[in-house]
Structures are given as structure tokens and as C-alpha cells.
Amino acid sequence: MSNTLKIAKYQFFNVLRTRWVFVVFALFFFLTAALFYFGESEAKVLVSLLNVTLIFLPLLSVLFGVFYVYNSTSFIELMLTQPIYRSELYGGMWLGIVTPFVGSFVLGVLLPFLVFGSWMGYAGAFGTLFIVGTALILIFLSLGMMFAIFAEERTVGMSLALLLWLVLTVVYDAVVLYLATVFRDYPLEQPLIAAMFLNPVDLGRVALLLQLDVSALMGYTGAVFREFFGTSLGISLALVALLLWVSIPVFVGLKRFAHRDF
């Protein structure tokens, strides 16, 4: 087994035993179960889960990423005095942090769905929810780790993480909406699609909404989006964008980690 996987294994158990992972599992499990229990349809369950996934999951992930790295500083020091590469340690930590989070999110939604829900007509939508949620966890955990590696001051790292979360979940939409109002006389579909790619939360929201009938409410713009995501090119582009959103912070964090003093 490579050093990366060995480190990942022990980090996995450590992270799995934190309260955070349990909170993610419990939240999604009880929410999904409760929604089904009160007789909501699959579509409504999905919309409720969508909002929790888009707002709460990024916040928890980015904070945990920052916290975890700061709390591990002296452990990182000890590990780096062993004959291992820095990239092996970073990769191992990343894998060990990410897997329990993704696992508890997916299981938290999947278990109640298997009991109460029906795949009929909703497999694609739930599949998209899993992909979007997983991508958001990966993106925001990687961003959190990256901030903690860059900012040696804990408060700076935390502030950056919170600021980014606020920008991507709230401020960004407000700005886009404002610009769309200002330039309403111009054809905005393409700039809006571009704007969406620059924010993984938006990308996730649109990808998911399009799986549901509510996209009919989005009028002409919805139709444009639907057309865009209906093509395999659109879906591939969206997946590539999410992949970039994961790999850039991982890469930048690793680069800094490899050269930083401890």
C-alpha cells in the first residue's frame, strides 16, 4: 500500500469519529426520512434536500477543512519528519477527510430513500443530487484545507473560508441578479450560463432544478438552460467545470504545502 493510502486509512478513522461527520449523516438521514414520512412526493423531497445541500453542505465542508488542518499542525510536523513526501501526506489527509463526508452524505440520503422512495422517474434526479453534493463536499473541503495552508493565522483562515462561502452562496447570486436587471434589454442567456460556471453552487442548483419539473417555471431562460444541459456537451462541460473546481484548490493547496515552512 502506498504511503498516501496508509495515511488516508488512519485519517479516515480519525475523521469518521468526529462529531461533524455524524452531524452530516444525521441531518440528511432524518430530514429525508421525515420528508418521506410526512408524505411528500419525491420531487418535493428533492427540492428540500437541494437547498440544504447547496447551503449547508458547503459551509460545513469549508469550516471542517480549515479546522482540521489547523488542529493537525503539530501532527503534520511529526509526519513530515518521517521519510515520506509532502504530497503523500497532503493526498492522504485529503482522501481521509473527503471520504467520510461523502459517505455520510450519500448514505444519509440513500437509506431513507431506499425505504420510502421510488426510483421510478427520479433515478436521474437523485443521481444528480449525489453528484452535486459530492462535488460540493470535495470543492469546499479542498478550499478549506487550502485556506488553512495559506494563512498561518487561524482567524485569517476561518474568515477567508466564511467569506468565500458567503460570496458563493449569497452575494454572487445577488450580483448576478442585479446585473441581469441592469442589462435586461440585452440577450443574457449566454453570459448567465458563463456566470453559472464560475460558481459551483449555482452550477449545482441549475443542474438539479433542470431534473425537476419546476424548471418549467423558469420561463425562457429555463428553456435555454434546459436546452444547454440537454446536450451531452452541456453535461460534459458542467462536469468538467466541477472537476476544475475540485482540482484547482487541491493543486494550489498542495503546491503551497510542498514549499511551506512548518
Binding site: 496508509k6 488512519y10 468526529t18 499542525t73 503539530s74 501532527f75 519528519t81 521519510p83 515552512d261 512548518f262
Partner: protein, 238 residues
């Protein structure tokens, strides 16, 4: 064994190490001392690859250390403070370290027994007292039988008995021909253990001398007086 050549390191405004050139001989115990913030830990961290010096090079048995981590197989490090993953048990932490050092098959379990770490195996690391954590830390530094031990304030936080056991262990390793470097503030401890003394002041090397040579040269009775004498002559007040 180890040669530091013209090592300089700056953190922002603060020049932590200034052109430090010093060598550490094989088979001896070398103590690094100096006031707080004199660069002791930073010098050790340069050797361990944790800190990248701005200038200078470090030779380990005539090979320049670089980004390849293999050279660290020869070094056992005991940091000042050790924190382990909070939710892992002592047993898991030991297994993790052994897994990562799969190049080693013969372990030195002496400190495990003498520190009675078997009683702690199922405890989570966050439940350990500071002293026990430090014992685990010391045990891990000796576990893989390296040629060189780098110990950063090894006895701080240990109870007197554990501290005695560790000092005995250090002497025993020296008899086996191992090279030991440690930092300390405690002069009697340095006097009792060290063969050579490196004194750092404000990031500069003030002197490096064999303990006995230092005492003879300053015509004093013991290390404490010798160091006081040297500091007086170099116009330094602590």
C-alpha cells in the same frame, strides 16, 4: 556526521538564523542551547526538512540533504509538543507509524515497556495527559532505531521518573554509537548528558565546544559557571 553550512533563515522581519556554520560529530551527544527565540528549534527543523533555509546547505554524512525524504530514515525526531489525531487510540497511532515505516522491521520497544504505554493502548489520544503524550512522542522517536536522534526539549513535560528513564536511554544509545542532538534550557541536564555544546544567540553561533574544553578554557568548575563566564565576556546579558 551533520554539517550546517552558512544557514540563514528569515521569517518576515525576523532574522532567525544568521549564517550558522557548525558541525555535529558522530557518536556524541550535542546539546544546543540559547535563550528563547535564539533559533534552536529552527536549526533542527532545517535538518528535518520542515523549514527551508533561505541560504546555506546541510550535509548528512557528506550528502547534501534535498527534497527526497529518504534521508529522514536515519533520523528519529521528538518534537517539543506532540499532538496526534484526536480520535485515534494510542495503539492505532503506533500501528500507523509502523505502517508508514515499513522499511524497518526491528523495533526498539524499550521505552514502551519502561513508560508502561501498554496501559494506554486503548485510550484516545485526546484523553492522554500531556506527560503521557510526551512519553508516546519519545517512544516513537526511538522506535525505528535510527542513527541520529533529534530531541527538542525532550524532558519538558515529563515527570521526574520518566525524565530519568529518557536520559538513561539517551546515554545507552550513545554507547551504541548513535548520534544525539538535543535542545534544552536546563543547564544541569546539559552538564550531565552532553559531550559538545552549541550556543546560539540571536540566530548566530556564539560557540561550539566540547564541554570539558569549555570548562577548562574558562577555568571554571562546571558548565553553568563556564557559560556564565562566556556570556559575560561576549557582553551578553540574559
Amino acid at each position: 556526521m551533520i554539517q550546517f553550512r552558512n544557514i540563514s533563515k528569515r521569517y518576515g522581519q525576523l532574522q532567525v538564523l544568521k549564517d550558522v556554520t557548525v558541525s555535529i560529530e558522530a557518536g556524541r551527544i550535542t546539546a544546543i542551547l540559547g535563550p528563547n527565540g535564539s533559533g534552536k528549534t529552527t536549526l533542527l527543523k532545517c535538518l528535518l526538512g520542515l523549514v527551508h533555509p533561505d541560504a546555506g546547505e546541510i550535509l548528512l554524512v557528506d550528502h547534501r540533504i534535498n527534497a527526497h525524504p529518504e534521508y529522514r530514515q536515519r533520523i528519529g525526531y521528538m518534537p517539543q509538543i506532540a499532538q496526534f489525531p484526536e480520535h485515534l487510540t494510542v495503539g492505532e497511532i503506533i500501528r500507523m507509524m509502523k505502517d508508514i515505516r515499513s522499511d524497518v522491521t526491528h523495533y526498539d520497544e524499550e521505552l514502551f515497556e519502561r513508560f508502561h504505554l501498554d496501559r494506554e493502548l486503548t485510550k484516545k489520544s485526546k484523553e492522554l495527559s500531556g506527560g503521557t503524550r510526551q512519553k508516546l512522542n519519545a517512544y516513537l522517536a526511538f522506535l525505528f532505531q535510527p542513527q541520529i536522534y533529534v530531541l527538542d526539549e525532550p524532558t519538558v513535560g515529563l515527570d521526574p521518573v520518566a525524565s530519568l528513564i529518557l536520559k538513561e536511554k539517551i546515554r545507552k544509545e550513545k554507547q551504541q554509537g548513535k548520534t544525539i542532538i538535543f535542545t534544552s534550557h536546563i543547564l544541569p541536564e546539559i552538564a550531565a548528558l552532553a559531550d559538545d555544546v552549541i550556543f546560539l544567540l540571536d540566530g548566530k553561533l556564539l560557540f561550539k565546544e566540547a564541554k570539558q574544553v569549555l570548562i577548562d578554557r574558562t577555568e571554571t568548575k562546571n558548565l553553568e559557571e563556564a557559560i556564565a563566564e562566556v556570556l559575560q565576556y561576549s557582553g551578553v546579558e540574559e
